[in-house]
């Protein structure tokens, strides 16, 4: 057997026959089409079923506006707070200590706990019959069935997104660069802004947009603590549910279409971040180590 023949055979051996390749691609695309593309398309067609005017009218409902406003408020509080918590979790994970692996496991807890159970925990703690209930009532503070409860539930559910992006980054990068900066006389703050932040910025941004998408879209946990008071404690997903249960299909899908657009924007930004990150990796791989990229 000549060497080229063997090479061809080996090449053929590390991929599949053309018809197998084609049918695998076809099957995967069919599955994606049925399960992902169709539901997405259905949201917009259902929203526009009675024409553009009915769609726009549904979005101008005062209750819809209040729901949009509340969702924006909740996300604008929950995301920055989780950004701080995420960076804190990441800073803690920089140090080696006993029980660290347990702590990093706990970060994932909100991912595996049912959102309904998470909401219930807040009702049990802050509800009228909860642990802190009597004290809260005595001081006239409302948490459950009010906006603070919605924010707390959202905080819990979206906590892992940023922390989880940052912790693996830290494990990959180590802390040599920070140590070098400190040795060269940088203050802790300078080190963070000039060394740490540029290293983690893409991971951070990635976590922030995923966190934001979930914060605006969370349903289960928020549903338990909100009390569904129209115009007061109704976020967009909850408003979708109310409209849907009242058989106002166009209105429900109109609000849902805004959330679907948010999801599409999130995916687009996410792809952009991945693309930029890959570019930067390539650029730094090309630059010889004597000449830093910046």
């Amino acid at each position: 057997m000549s060497p080229t023949l063997t090479a061809n055979k080996v090449q053929a051996g590390t991929t599949e026959a053309r018809w197998i390749r084609r049918s695998l691609i076809g099957l995967a695309l069919l599955f994606m089409f049925l399960f992902l593309v169709l539901p997405l398309a259905a949201v917009f067609t259902e929203a526009l079923r009675k024409g553009l005017d009915a769609y726009l009218e549904a979005l101008q409902e005062p209750d819809a506006w209040l729901a949009i406003r509340l969702t924006l408020i909740v996300a604008s509080v929950a995301v920055p707070l989780n950004l701080v918590f995420g960076v804190a979790a990441w800073a803690i994970a920089k140090y080696e200590f006993k029980g660290k692996s347990l702590l990093t496991t706990l970060v994932d807890l909100p991912f595996s706990v049912s959102p309904v159970v998470a909401g219930l925990v807040y009702v049990l703690m802050f509800g009228a019959h909860g642990w802190f209930g009597p004290w809260l009532q005595a001081n006239d503070i409302k948490i459950v069935f009010a906006v603070p409860g919605i924010i707390l539930a959202t905080l819990f559910v979206t906590f892992p997104f940023i922390a989880r992006e940052l912790i693996p980054l830290m494990q990959a990068q180590g802390s040599e660069e920070e140590q070098a900066a400190i040795v060269l006389g940088a203050t802790g703050w300078q080190t963070f802004w000039r060394v740490t932040l540029p290293n983690i910025k893409w991971g951070l941004l990635y976590g922030v947009i995923l966190c934001n998408a979930r914060a605006m879209g969370e349903f289960g946990a928020v549903s338990v603590v909100s009390g569904h008071i129209r115009g007061q404690t109704n976020t967009m997903p909850l408003h979708v549910e109310i409209l849907y249960n009242e058989y106002q299909s166009v209105a429900a899908f109109a609000v849902a279409s805004l959330l679907a657009l948010l999801a599409l924007v999130t995916l687009a930004i996410k792809s952009f971040i991945e693309w930029r990150h890959a570019q930067e990796m390539q650029a730094s791989a090309k630059t010889p180590p004597e000449q830093p990229a910046h």
């Binding site: 995967a28 539901p39 159970v117 009702v123 998408a213 879209g217 999801a263």
Partner: protein, 228 residues
């Protein structure tokens, strides 16, 4: 916590989650495989689309899947003449759980598949293995831990899922009522003790699954560390 209605909800929640996670293992591996190994038009777009269930609010997924599968929906109208009903039935629960679980499997398997070494496959071929033997003896063992991790994550997420399921399930007691909905129902009747008892069962299971996932990830790291 052990009344017939609650027990029926456990059966539905765990049964549907298990089926959905198994379906996701199969199709998740397929999608990851196609994305890593083959080139085709629109691949970048498909890759981005995989994360849709992460980004799309569950309530939106729930109502749109229901609209698709209902008797007059795009898909439902073709299934109804065959006597297949998916919306407002336990089967609908499985469909919704497949939707939300897919990215977990794809995103855990994909990076591992990217890291598998071509040299091993070439060696296997040179030694006379067929492509299928190479897959089942060389490639599959190296991605098995990731596949299991993805399965456990999709399963854990499916058990707790609420938003997408309640719209499509029909929520008939004893038939299509999931456990998280039982908790909500008890809460609405101010049965805090009952709600807490059922929630505790779910919480214990979440904790156990979390520990299993953690152990699987450690195993996976060790395995990939040993091979490189």
């Amino acid at each position: 916590m052990t009344s017939p209605r609650v027990m029926a909800s456990y059966r539905l929640t765990f049964g549907a989650s298990l089926i959905a996670a198994l379906v996701n293992v199969f199709f998740g591996l397929l999608v990851a495989w196609v994305l890593v190994r083959y080139d085709f038009f629109g691949k970048k777009f498909v890759d981005a689309l995989v994360d849709l269930p992460f980004a799309l609010p569950t309530a939106v997924a729930g109502i749109s899947l229901t609209a698709l599968l209902a008797g007059n929906g795009w898909i439902g109208q073709y299934l109804e003449p065959w006597g297949i009903q998916l919306a407002f039935k336990p089967n609908g629960v499985v469909i919704a759980l497949i939707f939300i679980g897919l990215p977990f499997v794809v995103r855990t398997v994909q990076p591992v598949l990217e890291d598998t070494e071509k040299e091993l496959e070439e060696a296997a071929t040179c030694l006379g293995a067929t492509r299928w033997q190479t897959f089942s003896r060389v490639i599959f063992p190296s991605i098995a831990p990731a596949l299991l991790t993805g399965f456990a994550m999709a399963f854990a997420r499916a058990i707790g899922e609420y938003g997408s399921v309640i719209f499509i399930a029909g929520n008939m007691p004893m038939v299509s009522e999931i456990t998280p909905l039982i908790i909500i129902g008890k809460l609405e009747q101010y049965d805090y003790a009952g709600a807490t008892a059922v929630a505790l069962v779910m919480l214990v299971i979440s904790f156990m699954l979390l520990l299993v996932i953690n152990a699987l990830q450690t195993w996976q790291r060790r395995r990939s560390g040993a091979s490189s």
